[in-house]
Amino acid sequence: MDPHLTTRDHPEAAGARPGSPVGGGTAARGRPSPQSTGAVGDGEDLAHRLSEMARDLQRTPEPSEVMVRVVRAAVSLVPGAQGGSISLVRARRRITPEGPTGDLSVLFDQLQEETGEGPCLDAAFEHETVRVHDLATEERWPALARRAAQAGIHGALCLQLFVQGDDLGALNLISREPGAFDDESEQVALLLASHAAVAVSDALQLEGTARALINRDLIGQAKGVLMERFKVTPQQAFDLLAQASQHTNRKLLDVAEELTTTGRLGP
């Protein structure tokens, strides 16, 4: 049971009757689902809430926290959403759920990774929005649909968030109710995803740049340890690290980290 799975009449969600696209930004955030008619309602309140969310995200430095806030905002603002997560697809295969609202959201990501199919993967890879009326009757992803429906997930709405090289991200919203997501849900989610894409992508890029600098220092320090231990040159020390990495089938960075923290080189 997902302890955070809320009902449709979440007080904040109930107050948000979204309207026409604010700023007209939906086209850039993937194609609408085949079910979408484009019909939406009044959106002044939604625009205000999205602006608040964007400001909130700007003040959040950590990528993981940015993603938690994006998901929370989506579950709060998108009509029909009862839970959600952001799927980070690393190197086009490993799926990591970020900011899940509960166990059911984590399970949905796990099932997609295990079966290699699902609406979030389609959204992430195909640059489109995928809306699922009821997984119990869904034929596009038979292996996933059966297991997800058994777990109690029926409605789903998935949108591509960003593409960075071989890394992709998708916003996943789920519901225990069949037919929970309609055109209005999709329009709100698309608007929200546009704001979220900027924040998430930026936070991940910053993290990547910082991590690259920190990793360089870590590898340099490991080289120094080996230079002193074996009286070798920096290049020879790097070669030793590379050999240990190859022999143990581990990343060079992991070998360096272990060496600098425990003094061990290899198993």
């Binding site: 690259a212 600098l213 340099g220 080289k223």
Partner: protein
């Protein structure tokens, strides 16, 4: 400013600056001439420097106060100033990294009182007078400084403030430079690969301090953090930069 000697490291017998180096001046800018061809980022930085009539330019990347690196091709005199600031933990670029705001210094020598530890420890290079420092940052438009990952440093050899138009030009350049640097590390989620992407960007001397830290850690059973602090303390007490001491330590091993 009077400073206590001998240094902690020497007291504990961890590492001693060789006698024949004690009376040598800190590494001169001439020793830092970079034999490598400049990267695209440095070509852009130099173009910005030319457009705003700056005599010198350097680009510094940083991940917090403990992880910094100079981009290959940065001006040697500015690199020396950066080494000095890194050793004492304060300086014009530190202010920009901490606040996320651009900074202008009309005359470094007249305004150096803002960094008492820096000027109390080192003789700031004579050539450097007016400075303009701009943060390199993410594209998300945060206003809290948390997205700053580097600094573009422009300097003049005479005390002459940069005009508003020149500042605007430099800001545009720093935004483009930010995007270029970030593009190097976004292609891979693998941190090691991202680090390798920086190899062609960063000055190879960036590795000297981490290597020296590793040597000290191994030699004396210290943690990396403790070894780094010890190296800094030794450098500070001797009036040398951490970079200079790291280089000495590694040269002793040859």
């Amino acid at each position: 400013m009077a400073r206590a000697r001998p240094q902690r490291l020497e007291e504990e017998g961890v590492w001693v600056i060789p006698d024949d180096d004690r009376h040598h001046p800190p590494r001169s800018a001439d020793e830092l001439e970079d034999p490598w061809p400049p990267c695209a980022e440095m070509l852009l930085a130099r173009r910005v420097a030319r457009d705003v009539v700056a005599d010198r330019v350097a680009v510094v990347l940083a991940a917090g106060p403990e992880h910094g690196a100079v981009v290959r091709g940065s001006d040697p005199v500015l690199v020396v100033l950066g080494d000095m600031a890194e050793t004492v933990g304060q300086g014009p670029a530190h202010d920009v990294l901490a606040t996320g705001r651009p900074s202008a210094v009309e005359d470094l020598h007249a305004g150096a009182w803002r960094w008492p530890l820096l000027v109390g420890t080192f003789a700031v290079p004579e050539q450097l007078r007016s400075l303009l420092l701009l943060p390199l940052r993410g594209q998300g438009g945060r206003d809290d400084g948390h997205d700053v990952f580097g600094v573009l440093v422009l300097a003049r050899d005479r005390p002459l403030l940069f005009t508003p138009a020149q500042v605007t030009t430099a800001l545009r350049g720093s935004a483009l430079l930010s995007a270029m640097v970030m593009a190097r590390t976004l292609a891979s989620g693998d941190g090691a690969a991202a680090g390798e992407d920086l190899d062609s960007l960063l000055d190879p001397r960036t590795d000297l301090v981490p290597q020296a830290v590793g040597v000290l850690a191994q030699r004396h059973g210290l943690t990396g953090d403790d070894a780094h602090r010890q190296l800094q303390a030794t450098a500070f007490a001797a009036g040398r930069t951490t970079q200079h001491c790291a280089q000495l330590l590694l040269e002793q091993m040859r």
